[in-house]
């Protein structure tokens, strides 16, 4: 396994490791080589690195053409430049024909975009893709999970979107932990007062919140949901069946992502209170931790929200 830290290097490490044995793996770059930390990949596999310039729609369309000829192209760049600027190409020329193109969207969320400001922070990507059929959506929680998510994506025949961040994510998982195909992994199991379901790089804050709550004698379970809108949600539903209070936490707009997904599962299977923590507005520039606190993702605020929700 090539060494890496954080989601971006994890992406580059995973495609580099796969390309050693699979000529089908390619990286399509809309001038995102450095941002995706893939310069070593380009040096080792110059033919498999396709630079198309600052042209995201073109990158996705080129990838569609490559996939139609049997390649496994990975398009990696800022989450919104793909899911917004190239949304139509992702829908009409990849998702509709079910072509085997993989997408890695970096700077996803406030935490992912932090100091760049709103133009480079993307908290709508999951909502956009949730309304497009045929997409498999992975939301790994750290670098190690991103590495395995990228490898898993290559095994799936069809479009996959993987949410990635700034590259400075806190490690939660061990490097060897596989990307859980069940769609949820329990990371804290203190009790069933509330089930907190999180996705993405906000997980460390949620784990801290669970410990704060434990000190207040409120015993929660924390689950990391790593597949959005999965086909088989049995494991998530089983967890949801153990409690009457659910809180979702996601670094994404409150609509269209994890909170929407879990609310839907609750409504359609076993109605239960679901409180969603997420973004209701655009963000702004700032140091990651300051931003995260200001916009309501601090462990204290998550804990407070859980407590208030228990009183309802």
């Amino acid at each position: 396994m090539t060494k890496f830290h954080g989601t971006r290097e994890a992406f580059a490490a995973a495609i580099t490791d796969m390309a050693k044995t699979d000529r089908k793996i390619m990286f399509i770059s809309p001038d995102s080589l450095k941002a995706m930390r893939a310069t070593d990949f380009a040096e080792e596999f110059p033919e498999a690195y396709i630079e198309v310039g600052i042209a995201e729609q073109n990158a996705v369309a080129v990838a569609a053409g490559l996939a139609s000829c049997g390649q496994i192209p990975f398009v990696g760049t800022y989450a919104g430049f793909m899911t917004m600027r190239a949304c139509e190409q992702m829908r009409t020329f990849v998702a509709y024909p079910k072509l085997n193109v993989k997408f890695i969207g970096i700077n996803a969320g406030l935490n992912g975009g932090e100091r760049e400001g709103v133009t480079h922070q993307f908290y709508e990507d999951l909502g956009i893709l949730s309304s497009i059929p045929n997409f498999t959506i992975f939301t790994p929680a750290d670098g190690a999970q991103t590495y395995h998510a990228v490898k898993r994506a290559a095994e799936i025949d069809g479009p996959v979107y993987i949410r990635a961040g700034s590259g400075r994510e806190i490690d939660i998982y061990n490097k060897e932990d596989p990307f859980n195909p069940d769609g949820v992994t329990v990371l804290k199991d203190y009790g069933t007062d509330t089930l907190i379901l999180a996705s993405g790089f906000i997980l460390n804050k949620v784990l801290e919140a669970a410990d704060l709550l434990y000190k207040e004698n409120i015993k929660v379970t924390v689950g990391d949901v790593n597949i959005l809108n999965g086909e088989n949600n049995t494991k998530i539903l089983n967890l949801m069946a153990m409690t009457n209070k659910i809180v979702t936490v996601e670094d994404h707009n409150i609509n269209g992502g994890l909170g929407s997904f879990i609310s839907k599962l609750a409504c359609e299977n076993r109605p239960v209170n679901v409180k969603r923590i997420g973004l209701n507005s655009f963000g702004e520039s700032g140091p990651a931790n300051d931003l995260i606190d200001y916009y309501g993702f601090s462990p204290e605020n998550i804990a407070k929200t859980v407590i208030e929700n228990l009183k309802l």
């Binding site: 390619m26 033919e47 498999a48 396709i50 630079e51 198309v52 310039g53 042209a55 729609q57 073109n58 369309a61 080129v62 990838a63 569609a64 053409g65 490559l66 996939a67 139609s68 000829c69 049997g70 390649q71 192209p73 139509e88 190409q89 009409t92 020329f93 509709y96 024909p97 079910k98």
Partner: protein, 273 residues
């Protein structure tokens, strides 16, 4: 195949396109008729394809980027044998039909790429051409775009990629009929200097009569011989070519012939065979 024979096939495909639009009561006859000679030359003379094995990996690829012109494409695929027996009733644009309003690769045998949202075909063709070179295949990728369509920004993103990757296995036909949905191209954007634009993007550019089979054949041969750069063949065409009442009349961008007009088409284009 001989030029006279190809001309005859083009006339028949024109009739089939009009027939499917007349029967389906919807579609774009003007754009379909305008590219009939290019499509005929590609499918009946130039392209290395196997209708019995439409996904053959060494085949030449074709993308009808201006997907609304698909009736002529469907007619060519039928005539070429992609659907077994020639199609008697296309049911163009009908529910459940394999002949969708715009081409769909997973529904229609022989369609190499879903298309119709304007501008996307060139970039997708770049991907196919890059794959060809990467896998050391000697197939070519052919694309037809409209002169209105190339107002889309992604066309020029793709034009950059084709030139920078030296995609000499990519040949782009620009169907230059000087019209677009809303009116004349030059009225819309102030000019229609296609040749200069592609030359500025470092493409090999030819300009021909898009209804002259001999010129189309020679232009393809020259394009294939030009190494190290992609080729654009700018085809001066007449929208609606083949039926007097449609020719150069932009009302036929989209429209359905009346019974009387259909009768004229039967007479002029030879009717069903």
């Amino acid at each position: 195949m001989g030029n006279e024979e190809l001309k005859e096939i083009a006339g028949h495909l024109r009739f089939e396109a009009v027939r499917m639009i007349y029967q389906g009561k919807d579609g774009h006859p003007g754009p379909a008729l305008g590219i009939a000679d290019i499509v005929t030359t590609l499918y009946f003379d130039e392209m290395n394809i196997d209708p019995e094995n439409p996904k053959w990996e060494d085949r030449d690829r074709f993308i009808l980027s201006k997907g609304h012109a698909c009736p002529i494409y469907y007619a060519a695929l039928s005539e070429r044998g992609y659907f077994g027996k020639k199609v008697k009733e296309y049911k163009l644009r009908a529910l459940g039909s394999k002949f969708q309003g715009h081409p769909v690769m997973n529904k229609t045998e022989g369609v190499d790429m879903t298309s119709g949202s304007l501008g996307n075909g060139l970039s997708i063709a770049c991907g196919m051409a890059i794959a060809g070179k990467y896998n050391k295949k000697d197939y070519n990728v052919f694309v037809i775009v409209g002169d209105g369509e190339i107002q889309e920004g992604i066309i020029w993103e793709g034009a950059n990629t084709a030139a920078s990757k030296k995609l000499d296995n990519l040949i782009l036909f620009v169907d230059k009929n000087n019209w677009q949905s809303g009116g004349a191209v030059s009225d819309t954007i102030g000019s229609n200097n296609v040749k200069e634009k592609f030359e500025a993007f470092n493409w090999h550019v030819q300009e021909i009569d898009g209804h002259n089979i001999d010129e189309i054949k020679k232009a393809i041969a020259l394009a294939k011989s030009k190494k190290g750069m992609p080729s654009a063949i700018i085809c001066n065409t007449i929208k609606g070519k083949g039926l007097d009442f449609m020719e150069n009349n932009n009302l036929w961008h989209k429209g359905v012939p009346t019974d009387d007009q259909y009768a004229i088409a039967v007479k002029v284009l030879g009717g069903a065979k």
